[in-house]
Amino acid sequence: MKNNQSLGTAAISKKGWLLANRFLILRRIVQVTILTLFLLGPLAGIWIIKGNLSSSLLLGVVPFTDPFMLFQSMASGHLPLFQAFLGALIVVLFYGLVGGRVFCSWVCPVNLLTDAAAWCRRKLNLRKEKVISRQWRYWILAMVMILPLFTGVMSWELVNPVSAFNRGLFFGMGLGWVLFLMIFLFDLLAVENGWCGHLCPMGAFYSLINRTSLMKVSAVKRDKCTDCSDCFDVCPEPAILKGPVYGKKHEIGPLVKDLTCTNCGRCVDVCAENVFQITTVLSGKNSLAKGGEIK
C-alpha cells in the first residue's frame, strides 16, 4: 500500500506548490473571509453581514436563510415570514448553480475542523477502512425532518454541531467546544471523514440541491492518469471518482456527477497530470449531457 506521506508531492514537483494547492488556498481564503465578515460586527462594530449561517442579512438588505433550517421549522409547524422564504430561495438558487455541497467545503466552518482531522490522519498514516456506511447521513436527514412532526420543535437544532459551531464562533461557544472536540477526535480516530462524509444530515440535505448544479468536476484528461491514486487519497468522498476516472470502458462520462461531490477541487490540485478540471455546463465539450450517470 502506498504511503500517504507522498500524497501531492508529485503534483508539487511538477506544477509547483501554488498550483498544486490553489483550490485549497482559495477555499481557506473564502472560509476565513466569511467568518471574518460575520465576526467584524460583534468584534469591531463593522456590520457588513449580521446574523449567522442559519439566517443573515447582508448590508441590511439581502436576506440569506439556511433552507435546511427553514424546512425543520416548517416541519415543526411554523409558517415563516416572507423574508425567511426569500433568504432560503436565494441560498437554494446559489447552491443550485455552483453545487449544493459547495456549502460544505467552501463555507461551513466545521470543514476546517474535519479537514484538519483528515490531514492529521494522513500524517499519522492511519489506514483507510470502511467502518460505517455513507448512507447514514440520509437516514439521519430523514429523522431530522420527521422528528419535528412529533415533538413540535426543531429537535435536531438542539444538538446540530454545524449551526452550533458557527453560532458559537460569533455568539459565544460555552461548553459547545466539547462537542467539536468530539467531532475532531471521531474523524481522527474512528472514521475517516466520519462527520462530513457519513453522518452530517446538513451535508446530505445540500447534496440533494447538487442535482441542478452547473459546475462539476470532470476527469477531462483521464487518458493521462498514471494510477497514482492521489486523488482518491485526498477526496473526502473517494468512491465517487471511480466511475469518472476509470469508467471509460464502461462508457461512463468523465463528469463527477455524484451528488455528494463538494466541488472542493482537491483532486484538481493533487493530480500531477492535470486530469481534472472544474467545468461548467457551458463549456460545450464537457457538457452535462455527455456526462456519466447520476449514481
Binding site: 439556511d66 420543535v153 429537535s155 459547545g176
Partner: protein, 250 residues
C-alpha cells in the same frame, strides 16, 4: 442509459440495510425526542425577547440566527449555548443582570426574519415577556414597613404596572406599610424591578406568565362584577331566611 455494471442489491440485503438505518436513527431520534421535551421546561429565569410566541411555537419558529441579539442596542440578549438549560441557540435575557430596556421601535422584533418575535407587536407596552411577582414577602423591605420603593420607582410603567398599596402595619400596630403591587394587565415583564431590587437576591422576580398566573374556573363569576354589569344586585337585597327558633321557645 449507462452500461456500468451495477452491484445488484438483493431484496434481503435491502431489507437488512433499511432496518439497520431505521433502528439506528430510531435510537437517536428517541434520545432527541426526550431532549426536545425537556428543552420546553427550561430555566424560568431565562426570559424571551419582546413579542416572543408561546414557548412551543417560539421554539418551532426561531431559526437561531442571532439577528435579534445583534439588533439589541443594549446587548442584553444572549443566545442559549449547547448544554445550557434552554433550547440551543434561542435568545433569552436575564432580568437580574440585563433587563429589557423597552425600546420604542423594538429593534429585536424588527430584525426577526421568521416571525418568532411577533411582527404584529407595535407598542412595546403590549409586550408580555413575563410577569413580575413579589415572591419573597418575608425579605421585601416594604413588607416590613420600610420605604424602599425601588422596584416601584424604576418601573417604566410606574403607577400602572406597579402601584404602592397602603395597608396597616400589623407588626407595630400604628404605622402603614406600602406594598408594591404588580398588575398583570400592564406589566410587560421587562425585569427592571428585579434588576433594581436592593436585596442580595431579588424579592421581586420576573417569571414566565404561565408560571406566575393563576386562572379562574371557567364557570366562576365575581359577584360584584356581575352586579355592576347588571346594574343591580342579581338577588334580592335582603335575604329573608326562615326563622329557626328552638322548639322549646315556641
Amino acid at each position: 442509459m449507462s452500461k456500468r455494471p451495477q452491484r445488484k442489491v438483493t431484496r434481503r440485503q435491502f431489507l437488512v440495510n433499511a432496518s439497520k438505518g431505521a433502528c439506528g436513527v430510531g435510537f437517536m431520534g428517541l434520545g432527541l425526542a426526550g431532549y426536545s421535551n425537556q428543552s420546553q421546561s427550561f430555566n424560568p429565569q431565562m426570559l424571551r425577547p419582546p413579542g416572543a410566541l408561546a414557548e412551543l411555537d417560539f421554539q418551532s419558529a426561531c431559526i437561531r440566527c442571532g439577528l435579534c441579539v445583534e439588533a439589541c442596542p443594549y446587548d442584553m440578549l444572549k443566545l442559549g449555548r449547547l448544554f445550557q438549560p434552554i433550547a440551543t441557540g434561542t435568545p433569552y435575557f436575564l432580568a437580574r443582570t440585563d433587563p429589557c430596556e423597552m425600546c420604542e421601535d423594538i429593534p429585536c422584533k424588527a430584525a426577526c426574519p421568521t416571525g418568532a418575535l411577533d411582527p404584529e407587536l407595535n407598542n412595546i407596552d403590549d409586550a408580555r415577556m413575563g410577569l413580575a411577582v413579589l415572591i419573597d414577602q418575608e425579605n421585601c423591605l416594604n413588607f416590613q414597613g420600610l420605604r424602599c420603593d425601588v422596584c416601584y420607582r424604576v418601573c417604566p410603567l410606574i403607577d400602572d404596572a406597579i402601584t404602592l398599596e397602603m395597608h396597616r402595619n400589623q407588626r407595630t400596630g400604628h404605622h402603614a406599610v406600602f406594598i408594591p403591587t404588580v398588575h398583570s394587565y400592564v406589566c410587560t415583564g421587562c425585569g427592571k424591578c428585579e434588576e433594581a431590587c436592593v436585596l442580595e437576591k431579588a424579592a421581586i422576580k420576573v417569571l414566565p406568565i404561565e408560571l406566575a398566573k393563576g386562572e379562574l374556573g371557567k364557570h366562576y363569576r365575581w359577584g360584584w362584577e356581575e352586579k355592576e354589569k347588571a346594574g343591580s344586585s342579581l338577588i334580592d337585597e335582603v335575604l329573608d331566611l326562615p326563622d329557626r327558633v328552638p322548639e322549646v321557645l315556641k
